[in-house]
Symmetry: C2
Subunit: 368 residues, 2 copies
């Protein structure tokens, strides 16, 4: 293999694909970027077994071939050669990188051991406005589980029904669900996509008001943004039916100014931040929510003006979950709806109910 290219072109491409390189693995080839030189095109591919990123660039190919280079070393090295032209050739199991009068080489692995990558994912298709896709990911993915105890909870469920899409994430303590619109879809479908994949997609998406297509085929997802292709495994298995856990009616509903509540909770959370659940308590009465917390450092008790309908309620919760839900809501006024101190409660915008957060309260001995 031998080719000539501009340092800047190669660097930009390498920095995009290197994100898919495995980080700590016993299989060295998974930490590599595969470089294929065919016709006038270099194809760079990296995969960690779950996510694959591939990018093609033009180059002057003097000899075709393919090879694997250590991903992070190669990308950091090429990043420092953006202003020069590079001549790269592989000989005797080494890659020579020539620029100016230098004489630099890097160990390479055979491309034969690199996992096969399928980029022919094109059975089904969902097209959304790019901004809508971003909104749906931002509203939900942070509620996915981060540990491996129930792997399917590390993904977001995407359900397409007609022109509607709903995205749901849950981690066993809270749930986020957001509704949106698709521009078109080849059929109704239900997939569970890893949150990491969605977060990588978020970073790839351009900031324009265009459209984005998600392609789906037998357990795989593909997205293509400006010559960069990302494919990802989807998760198999039964996702929890959100209809079964979101209460249909509520005994206590309270409307409150989002920022006032948020600031009170943040102050109350400071004193309990080293406690395991970082527990805060809301005491909801006619015209206020009293936010309080207690620890050996001290205690906070702040009334927040609110309009309540229904029964008084005292309920304890993890301050992180409620803070993240409030931060993800957008309107000035939000509504919290409760049944009692042990059943999950929900937070929504006052007007636009497209997004819903459900949080499981924390049971305490105190809140009678």
């Amino acid at each position: 293999m031998k080719f000539i290219c501009e340092g800047l072109d190669l660097s930009e491409a390498v920095l995009k694909v290197v994100k898919a390189c495995a980080v700590r693995t016993t299989v060295p080839v998974m930490e590599c970027i595969k470089i294929s030189a065919v016709n006038d095109t270099l194809t760079l591919t990296a995969t960690d077994g779950e996510i694959t990123i591939q990018k093609k660039i033009k180059a002057e190919i003097l000899e075709e071939g393919d090879i694997c280079v250590p991903g992070r070393y190669f990308s950091d090295f090429i990043k420092k050669l953006e202003s020069v032209q590079l001549t790269i050739y592989v000989e005797n199991g080494k890659m020579d990188i020539a620029y100016a009068d230098s004489n630099t080489s890097m160990q390479v692995l055979s491309a034969d051991d690199f996992p096969a990558v399928d980029t022919s994912v094109d059975e089904d298709s969902i097209v959304l406005k790019t901004e809508e896709l971003k909104r749906l990911i931002n509203a939900t993915a942070f509620c996915c589980a981060s540990d491996d105890s129930r792997p399917i909870l590390k993904g977001c469920q995407l359900v397409v029904t007609g022109s509607e899409i709903s995205v749901t994430a849950l981690d066993g303590f809270r749930l986020a669900t957001a509704k949106g619109e698709v521009i078109s879809s080849s059929k109704d479908m239900e997939i569970v996509c890893p949150a990491r994949t969605l977060n990588e997609i978020l970073k790839m998406l351009p900031s324009d008001d265009g459209e984005t297509e998600l392609k789906v085929k037998r357990g795989m997802l593909l997205i293509c943004v400006e010559d960069t292709i990302l494919t990802s495994c989807l998760y198999n298995g039964d996702f929890i039916k959100k209809e079964n856990i979101i209460p249909k009616s509520f005994l206590t509903t309270v409307k409150v100014e989002r920022n006032l509540l948020k600031e009170s909770i943040e102050r109350a959370a400071i004193l309990v931040r080293s406690d395991k659940n970082s527990l805060i308590i809301m005491d909801v009465t006619q015209d206020k929510i009293e936010v309080s917390s207690n620890s050996e450092i001290g205690n906070v008790k702040e009334p927040v003006k609110a309009q309540m309908e229904g029964k008084d309620l005292k309920i304890a919760m993890n301050s992180k979950f409620i803070t993240e839900a409030i931060n993800a809501l957008k309107e000035d006024e939000i509504v919290l709806s409760f049944n009692n101190q042990v059943q999950p409660f929900i937070c929504q915008n006052e007007q636009n109910k497209d997004v819903l957060y459900l949080i499981l309260p924390v049971r305490t001995g105190n809140n009678a």
Copy 2:
């Protein structure tokens, strides 16, 4: 104790002093901020035993007194109350913080247990241009030792002789020394100041072209910037005499463009970054420095144009030390001066020799 003050005033003051609170200690009072209310002034003080920071602000004092509050909890809490007026009073071992209709309290400790703090450090004095002090600290403090094996090496030596000041730092593998001018000093002196103190001072110093006074008294240093007083212990003991270790003559002197050398070393360092010494080799000949590195990942060999006088030399060094020295130099052209592959070598600007970096090479079996 009882006082009324603006959240913003208290927050700004607390954020300044909290930096001196001890982080992990078995003595809870060392993690506290001491608040003293006398006449119309609040004095906030924190100390970790080495550095003390004190700041005074005006407040409406209704009842004098003093007390200690947990530093980081208090500062994070007050930071979230910048827009309101606070009424703070201490009763029954608790501090009540009243704002709006809230009812918040924090555990406090008696001020009796807080270490005595001496802010009457005024025996001797060194006055420098503020920019000159910053330059001297930036040029040297990064070369101080960071481990505790020889505590005095965690400090910079400041030597004042007439109108000249020289600042020296070393960690056993490299040395930095910078010369500068003082505007005035009460006498010639020699002190060793902790690098942490100098780095805190750097953060406090205003960005104007004024003057700064360092006050010194029996093992203590004091600096006052805009009502914030910082005092610090100085280190006792014999500091290495730099004259004894900086070679007086050199067999090989090489002049090189700073950026070219820096970029070559950075590339060479990438391939050896997981090795212990992150070793690079310079092969200095008539018209170039050949920078090279070797690891199981690959090897780099780059010629850098240079003008050498004296004997050819091949020398190995830690890439971190040489990179940090080159970064700290300012001129486009720099000069490296060597004797042989085992004696320390020096790096300086080509013109202005006020700053000098000395680096111990690494002995290898290879560089014959």
